[in-house]
């Protein structure tokens, strides 16, 4: 065992599937640790490898984990039992959806960079300390991103910060408390914020590699989950204040609503070609001015959505009774039906298709099977605006005195920046009167705004769970989850799912650990709710 050399070679696994070969042979085509880690170019390559490993598996998980338990997708014509069981709240450790291994692959790739990159400075004189720190910042941030998904999904998970490069390491890590992990991530991200590049040479790189802004967006998101609202707002403000991002502008025309010549109201209609540009820049071309960090896909490396969302496959589709008319309200005046949210029909969904990933424009053709190249958007500017809005709203709710209304107003202004850009429908729920704002109504309004803004971008379940668990499920917060169960589960499962969400220990709000992980790692304890 000791004289075993390889292990850091990658192609090895691809070339030699079987275990015995893998033990006995020196790789022929692969690169060994001794040969690798000689130049800064190799460090760069290894960092790029980290990103590639997000494309390969985690994007699918980010989508499924964020949407299946939420209320915006439902079974299509062709049912996948592993998806439909989750939609109905019948979640079992055998369900392949809960397999986390692809995220740990990314984590280990990052750990490897963090372990070996510093040594390259000894052999490559042109590799500066600053460059090293920047690469490390990328690896730290990508790793933190994966752990944040894991903690929000499973709560407590094994925390591995060491690279697995040798067979005699202890691989049987027990779970670490999610709270402890989040503290670790905050520590890492504070370093990354300092060291990550502010931008790269091309727009594409600046959107698809970690920048200091990505690190901040992630940090703000973690603060929000930790209920550290002042820190969250501060971090968001750093991104907003940078002036590097903005909402895609959409021109609007005013439409008067009249009755017998008397103007009763005015509504706005978004310019269709601007709306289409928003769609194309965000979901077809990618790298929009709004984007902070996204995972790009190409015709050579497709995103995973064809096999789930393509109309001819039709495994998952929008849950129209919830999405159309509720999450996206109907126009206020039926005879001014053009006054709609540009994120609704023709963007997030179209008929019974999750259009963002399927369409080539708002009204254009469906993508062909090999053209599934919509980027996976992890953070965009509106997320920062709405995170800060949520933080200000919470600061208000946790404060007393007249100042509270100031906080609420700040939250409303931030939210309105998003709503204006998207021509959101002005329902009474958003009719806040300055100085007389009910904080709880505003809280709900922000959640619903997030549902529209990030429809099918893998955020809905985490948003609702964050709302429910706030202040240790204080007051009626659990109702956020119960409402989700009411609108998502099939009628014959609804009451049972509600009962499950009422689990006093809240373990049912997190995933079970995949069976094969439990079987191989004896130190891993199954989530109590699933451990019968």
């Amino acid at each position: 065992m000791k004289n075993l050399k390889i292990l850091f070679s990658f192609l090895v696994l691809l070339l030699f599937g079987s275990c015995s070969d893998w033990l006995n042979l020196e790789p022929e085509d692969g690169v060994t640790v001794d040969e690798f880690w000689k130049t800064k170019e190799q460090v760069n390559s290894a960092v790029i490898g980290c990103y590639c490993s997000i494309q390969a598996g985690p994007v699918e998980k980010m989508f499924l984990w964020g949407e299946l338990r939420a209320d915006m997708v439902e079974n299509g014509a062709y049912i996948s039992s592993s998806y439909s069981n989750i939609i109905d709240g019948e979640i079992s450790p055998e369900n392949k959806v809960v397999n986390w291994s692809s995220l740990y692959t990314v984590i280990n790739n990052c750990n490897i960079v963090l372990k070996y990159a510093p040594g390259v400075r000894d052999v490559d004189g042109t590799f500066t300390e600053k460059q090293l720190k920047a690469y490390e910042a990328e690896a730290l941030t990508v790793r933190a991103m994966m752990y944040f998904y894991l903690v929000r999904s499973f709560k407590d998970v094994p925390l591995s910060l060491e690279a697995y490069t040798s067979d005699d390491q202890d691989l049987y890590l027990p779970k670490t408390s999610g709270d402890v992990i989040l503290d670790t991530l905050v520590r890492d991200l504070k370093i990354a914020v300092q060291n990550a590049p502010v931008s790269y040479s091309t727009t594409a790189s600046s959107k698809s590699r970690i920048t200091a802004w990505t690190a901040r967006a992630l940090l703000a998101d973690i603060y929000l989950w930790q209920e550290k609202y002042a820190e969250c707002a501060q971090t968001c403000q750093e991104i907003i204040g940078s002036g590097r991002f903005s909402m895609i502008p959409v021109e609007k025309t005013l439409l008067e609503v009249t009755d017998g010549g008397v103007v009763l109201d005015t509504v706005t209609v978004a310019n269709e070609s601007d709306a289409d540009q928003m769609f194309i820049n965000s979901y077809v071309n990618g790298n929009s001015v709004e984007s902070i960090f996204e995972i790009p896909f190409t015709t050579a490396e497709n995103n995973p959505f064809y096999s789930m969302l393509a109309p001819t496959i039709n495994v998952l589709r929008p849950k129209l009774d919830v999405v159309d008319g509720t999450i996206f309200p109907d126009p206020v005046y039926s005879y001014a039906s053009e006054a709609t949210d540009i994120r609704g029909s023709g963007c997030s969904y179209r008929a019974n298709v999750c259009w963002k990933y399927v369409g080539t424009s708002r009204t254009g053709a469906v993508r062909t099977a090999t053209e599934y190249t919509t980027p996976w958007i992890v953070y965009k500017y509106s997320d920062v605006l709405l995170m800060k809005a949520e933080a200000m709203n919470q600061i208000g709710l946790h404060t007393s005195g007249e100042i509270v209304q100031d906080y609420y107003q700040q939250a409303i202004d931030l939210m309105d920046e998003v709503r204006t850009a998207r021509n959101a429908v002005a329902t009474p729920d958003y009719d806040f009167v300055a100085g007389d704002v009910d904080g709880k109504s505003l809280e709900k309004a922000i959640l619903e705004e997030r549902a529209r803004e990030f429809a099918y971008e893998g955020k809905r379940w985490y948003d609702v769970l964050r709302y429910a668990k706030r202040d240790d499920y204080a007051g009626s917060n659990l109702q956020y989850l119960i409402n989700l169960a009411i609108s998502s589960a099939s009628p014959q499962k609804q009451q049972s799912l509600i009962a499950k969400y009422k689990d006093p220990k809240h373990n049912s709000h997190y995933w079970p650990i995949y069976t094969s992980e439990i079987e191989t790692n004896k130190n891993l304890e199954q989530n109590e709710f699933y451990a019968k």
Partner: protein
């Protein structure tokens, strides 16, 4: 789209795979350590209990004695709800038995049969209601996940026992270990109604007087099921029926029934009978079953209860038409008596008052394109758009055939005498035996009565013929008399009366045209209010598609020719006492001349 990732040398891309291995089988050498591998580890249910979980041994002993050991040992598909030894002990204590062996073999047999379902049902397949298959005793078990107080959520079976160990797999089935013994309710629905508490006194009295309690008590042969909708005194009060004096309450119900059923106004006994029968359905339907149907026929002739799920509530008898809206009443899901299993059925408790209603036939002028999925489209009624649908994509319009038929929703780009579709939109349907062979259309709500069915379309093709069948659940299919030819032209030189005699009419208001047609498929008899089905089967033809606009259901004794519809969907009627008929300037598009007979 080109991205930076791909510019990097290939060797490194493989970084991706390293750790799948690390976490799934850490190291190669100890992969097999600490595990015992058997050539087959299949054990039968009885073997599982003997070898792995003796805490269920008491049940096995009983099964032995009742003669079920052979079954538990044979290959098969079973789901066994097995009470633990402790559970059986508690049960015996409560029954005053020293042990179950004091029971006769027949009693033990029933005992075991009620714990076994001959199907493999995992907990993931449970619903909030009854299991899909009955127990060997012929009675159904109910399941529901409940969470009470500060305890963990549990699955409760038959309102009696909680599952303490679920989904244990054996070679011949699944075991769910439970913490109490399951016993069927020995009382029939009739007997249970008699036992209802005081606040059901008025319902009880009516059901007794009408003789329905006897019906529900005496019919207990296997396979005969009843679902009874209960009215508590509170639910009567919601409709202003007093319950403090039962006779006054009874008279109040009769008064309401007389209004709704004028045919029987003089026959109190008949009215009470109708009222009682209307609360009974000849099927075992728990709340879950009801939430999946839109209507159930009661045992009052041709009287239905309709159901609509709205978030977490289940509404009974909501009804909406052009002219009427009747608010429905909620099923009281929280009531102890809802989903209450009885020997021959189940009870469902209502929050409000229901009674049979007699609604007359009402004309429905329906745009076929108003399908729920299409109304959600951005392209809905937007000029110049089209969207194509595959089979299965429209929930209320199914179709099939050979060579991948599709239906296209189209909105005409501009008004034209030949594209006078209502709202400009239509379906392009390639109806023919070699392509789209059949379609089934779910109708809007139709009230009971006799209707002519008019299909309004723009002609196309040559000799593409089909037949039409009207289907309503529980009734015989009605094949409509007229074979339909989609290639037919509208005869513009005939008078409207002559055309009507030939089964044709002008349905569009602005300008009669030889390609814009409406044909009467024949009359249907709607026996009860509800959403029914029109089935269309292609008979002949192989030419192009035709374009479908509306389907009109017009009561046979009403005017078949009017209203016509303009392109905004406005119903146009001829003006009375005006020989000039309709004012052409009121028909959209307003700047176009009218062609046709405007007065009749």
């Amino acid at each position: 789209m080109k991205t930076i990732y791909k510019k990097i040398s290939n060797g490194i891309l493989a970084l991706t795979t390293v750790v799948t291995a690390v976490f799934s089988f850490s190291s190669c050498t100890d992969y097999l350590e600490g595990k015992t591998f058997l050539t087959s580890d299949d054990v039968m249910i009885d073997e599982y209990i003997e070898q792995k979980d003796p805490s269920m041994s008491e049940f096995l002993r009983v099964a032995d004695k009742a003669g079920f050991r052979g079954m538990l040992h044979a290959y098969g598909t079973n789901t066994c709800f097995i009470p633990s030894n402790d559970a059986i002990e508690v049960y015996c204590q409560r029954q005053g038995l020293d042990s179950l062996e004091e029971l006769s073999v027949e009693e033990l047999e029933s005992f075991v049969k009620f714990h076994i379902v001959r199907d493999t049902i995992k907990t993931a397949e449970f619903v909030d209601g009854r299991l899909s298959t009955a127990t060997m005793l012929g009675k159904y078990l109910t399941t529901k996940t409940v969470q009470e107080g500060s305890s963990d959520p549990v699955i409760r079976v038959n309102r009696q026992a909680n599952i303490i160990d679920e989904d244990i797999r054996a070679a011949n089935g699944i075991i769910h270990k439970i913490d109490y013994v399951l016993t069927p309710n020995p009382y029939t629905v009739g007997e249970m109604i008699e036992m209802l508490p005081e606040n059901y006194s008025l319902f009880k009295m009516i059901m007794e007087e009408s003789g329905m309690v006897d019906t529900l008590t005496n019919n207990k042969e296997s396979g005969k099921w009843y679902t009874v909708f209960l009215q508590s005194n509170e639910s009567f009060e919601t409709a202003g029926i007093p319950t403090s004096d039962l006779q006054v309450g009874r008279d109040s119900i009769l008064a309401k029934m007389k209004v709704a059923q004028p045919d029987y106004a003089d026959d109190d006994a008949k009215l009470l009978d109708l009222f009682s029968r209307y609360h009974i359905v000849n099927r075992l339907a728990y709340v879950t079953d009801l939430s999946l149907t839109s209507s159930e026929l009661s045992i009052a002739t041709n009287q239905v209860l309709t159901f609509k799920t709205n978030k977490d509530s289940l509404l009974v008898n909501e009804y909406q038409s052009l002219t009427k809206f009747e608010k429905g009443v909620n099923v009281n899901k929280a009531s102890d008596w809802t989903d209450y299993s009885c020997y021959n059925g189940v009870m469902i408790d209502l929050e409000g008052y229901i009674q049979p209603v007699k609604r007359g036939a009402e004309a429905v002028y329906w745009e076929l394109t108003d399908q729920p999925e299409i109304k959600k489209l951005k392209e809905y009624r937007k000029a110049g758009s089209w969207v194509t649908f595959q089979p299965g994509e429209l929930s209320e319009l199914s179709f099939g055939g050979k060579n991948n038929p599709t239906i296209t929703y189209v909105v005409a780009s501009a008004w034209d005498v030949k594209t006078q579709y209502v709202h400009g939109d239509y379906f392009e349907i390639p109806m023919r035996p070699t392509l789209l062979q059949w379609m089934e259309i779910k109708t809007p709500v139709l009230t009971e009565g006799v209707y002519n069915v008019w299909i309004c379309w723009r002609r196309g093709g040559d000799n593409n013929k089909f037949k039409t069948t009207f289907k309503q659940d529980g009734k015989e299919d009605q094949v409509l008399p007229n074979v339909f030819d989609l290639g037919e032209y509208f005869n513009t030189s005939n008078t409207p009366e002559v055309n009507l005699n030939n089964g044709m009419k002008q349905y569009n208001a602005k300008s009669k045209n030889s390609v814009v047609c409406s044909r009467n498929c024949g009359a249907i008899k709607v026996e009860y209010t509800g959403r029914h089905t029109l089935r269309i089967d292609a008979l002949s033809g192989k030419s192009q598609a035709a374009w479908w606009d509306m389907i009109q259901f017009i009561p046979v004794d009403e005017n078949q020719l009017w209203p016509r519809f303009d392109n905004l969907g406005t119903a146009i009627y001829p003006m009375e006492n005006d020989s000039a008929g309709v004012n052409c300037a009121t028909i959209s598009p307003y700047d176009q001349p009218c062609v046709g007979d405007l007065s009749n």
